[in-house]
Amino acid sequence: MTLDDYRILEEPYYRPLGDEIVIFEAAYADRMPMMLKGPTGCGKTRFMEHMAWRLRKPLITVACHEDMTASDLVGRYLLDAEGTVWHDGPLTIAVRHGAICYLDEIVEARQDTTVVIHPLTDDRRILPLEKKNELVKAHSDFQIVISYNPGYQSVLKDLKESTKQRFAALDFGFPNPEIEAEIVSHEANISTDLAQRLIKVGQRSRHLKGHGLDEGASTRMLVQAGRLIDKGTSFETACEVAMVLPITDDPDLRAALNEAVSACA
């Protein structure tokens, strides 16, 4: 198996905010398990794609959800014409053939699911396939990375302490206004001036975090608003469509955000 489909050939745009690239390279050199923390839409996934491209390694991404079981990661027996056949799950493929396995939003998965990664994250670097009675030794290129959004979910969802302590972490936040404007302007193909106004709107919504909103508008949302503007939508409509409406259903907050958009326009 070549994993060619999982290779990233063109450089994904990523604007470094600090020395995260250097740190990640160092961590990869040691195949250290990594945890990327930060609010949704701040660029964690994009960073992973960029690093996979930079390191020239295939990247297998798994979006975790609350119904995900251990078999969804590891693999399972399927029924075919001849009887049962084993199919490797995404994690097993990465372990066997040497890819970076990125488990996105790991807290979403149930806690009993996440423990299957434990043997991979210490110096054993093995993956026991209990049902198949096989012990897969990790390929030398294999690395596990998880992303984790602290606090956005209810307090009920958190990583087990035993899971947390196996990872080194990089903390991502929203970039400072100048850099964020640069990113939005690049990604949405709009002028810096327009991008700066979008950033201003974004900051307004971030003020409301914890005061009605669970999370302010992410860089991703701002990029989307920018793309709508680039396609000819007016500034205020683009902000409403790409930011205000998705972010909340509360009529008062919507009105307040729309008014704040008008104030920035």
């Binding site: 307004r204 907050l253 704040a260 008008s262 104030a263």
Partner: protein, 760 residues
Amino acid sequence: MSEAWADIRKLLSQSRLDRFVSEGAWQHIARAFPGEEFEDWVTALGSLTAAGIGPGGAAAYVRASPLCADIVGADATLALAASAAQVMRRAHVRAAINLLSAAPLAARRLKHTAGFLQWLHAIEDLAGRAPESVDLVIDRSDQILSQLDAEGFRAWTLAGIRNAGDSAERRVSFFSLSEPDALRVFEQESGLISLGEMERLLKAYLAALWGIYPIVRPLPPRKSLMFRPRRATFDRFLIRFPETYPGFTAQESRRLFLAGIAHVGAHIMFTPERFPVGPLKPVQVALVSLIEDARVETLAAQEFPGLGRLWRSFHVAQPNTPLVAEAHMARLARALIDPAYEDDDPWVNKGKMMFFDARSSWDDARISRTIGGLLGNDLGQMRVQFNTKSYVVEPPYRDDNMGVWDFGEPPETQADDADVIYDSFHIEHTEEDKPHHRQRTEEHQDAAHQAARVRAVEEDIGMPVARYPEWDHLLGRERPDWTQVVEFEPRPANSDPIELLIAEYPDVVARITKLIRSAKVSQPTRMKRQPEGDRLDLEACIRATIDRRAGRPFEHRVYETTALRYRDLSVLLLLDISESTRDQVRGTDVSVLSLERAATVLLSVAMSGLGDPFAIHAFCSNGRNEVRCVRVKDFQALFDDKTKTRLAGLRSGYSTRIGAALRHAGAELEGQLTHRRLLLVVTDGEPSDIDIKDKRYLVEDARKAVQGLAHRGIDVFCVGLDGGGESYLTRIFGRRNVLLIDRVTALPEKLPMLYLRLTA
């Protein structure tokens, strides 16, 4: 026509009206009521006279009817005659005559037929319910209608009736507008958009703009109805707004509130410290304020250009006004923030020039002081009159600038004490430091425990914690801030009687313990024949393989999986402890309240056994301003002996205003982060309160409260201890959310079982 005239002459001589009404007026009537309508007019006058309104009343009708008919049409005017007759029957002749005389002015205020009819209806209604006050209201009709529309008028009169209950004396004081409550309701009704509707939006708006998280409150109600326009005001703690901006459309009021809070926000951001008043004259204070307003707005508009547009839209001053200070200041205000505005006045232009010359130091508040001081001097030298008493800041979105001045001694707030207490508590309630607040009460508990014994004879003192609206089914809408919830600390008492009572239900305790074990948290359940799963379901596989080999279509769901079932709910138990719970249950010597207590303890055993967070509140009420709520147990507190002693300390008394209690409990539950939130109500009788006569009123309000809770994802379930309570309880809670228990002694065993069934 000549026949009609003959009729009129006859009527005239009958009622001796010819002395009062001139020929011209008759012609006006003939014009206003053409053709058949004239016949109706004559009939109406005839019936008024027959009802005994007397010559004065008939003359009033003759004078008023054509004037009203010109504005609201002939039909509505005929309805006026009917209303006058009705008022005469219900109240007295004088009121009816007053109504007729007040009608033309009211018609002029209300403009439309529908509004006029609504007004008449409200007056008739009032005559029936408050005959002693109807005169007062009619006398003030013109004044009231200058600020309220017909709907607001009706809401206000209903509020007066609801407020006073049976007491004619209190009705009179309400309707003569001498009571603060009357003025408060009046303000709430007098604009199209009230602060209550805007409050959340305003706070979020200011938070979004500058990350300022303010406390917004209405201004205290004014002392009388005679007034000048009111402006927002702020200090370091609070931003206060008028309840409404009368005279503006809904859209304009909304924008005024937004512009107002943004302006206050600009002060908070850009007025670094308050100016000392020092030796400044009033006119200079006003002008320094004006310059400062322009300065902070300019700075804010540099950051948010949209705010500049919003503010400028309210500046409508024009050149060529007479030489009056107010008008000149409005022009200057406009000139400073609207570059497109041209003015020919040298004083205005001087101000403008000085302000823009100081462009480079706009971020320095001292320039306002300098420029304002100079301009104030000039105005003095121009001998322009400035009246401090009547001066009101313009445009209306701007605040009164009390927040930018330091008057030396901190001015005592003019609000009465109750208002201040209420405010400070409200703060605690809205801020997210609830756990903190709780902790404090927990800490104080032991002290309270001891103190309670000492002051056992003292009257207990409650703290007003929140206000809630109440639904008026006649009005078809909620009356804001109508009820006040007052929290009381329960007095701990000996819990032995409870323990004894529980000891009578040993089998129940055993059964509950067993059920808990089986209902306990996160039991894995095996789910077979799933489309996806961890393992192959062997039976399903074999069946599928057989089918496939036999050439039949086969089932694809051949996996099995295990799913965990979490319990994720919190419960608030709301106990009715009104006077009726003192009654003894037939055939026993225990009271309803004792049984409620025992049931609560058993239920608590079940809930704490399952690990579900739960709280226990009890309520009763003593009029709308004292809905008493007792916190027996908070969500964070453990269920222990202390809880039992607090339960034992509950005493029956007062009435059952259930709607407010439901809203308060709902607000408490809303803070819980669990997936399911359940409000379990135990009540023994129909909602009632001392100030309410209308039986349906509290039922409908409670129904509305339950609906509101359902909207916010809170399940409400009621256990009724009144065998005959089906009609109103199902009306309030819905048919499926009520369990009626005929045999009250069964409550302690039924309540925990019900809970386990509800939450299984």
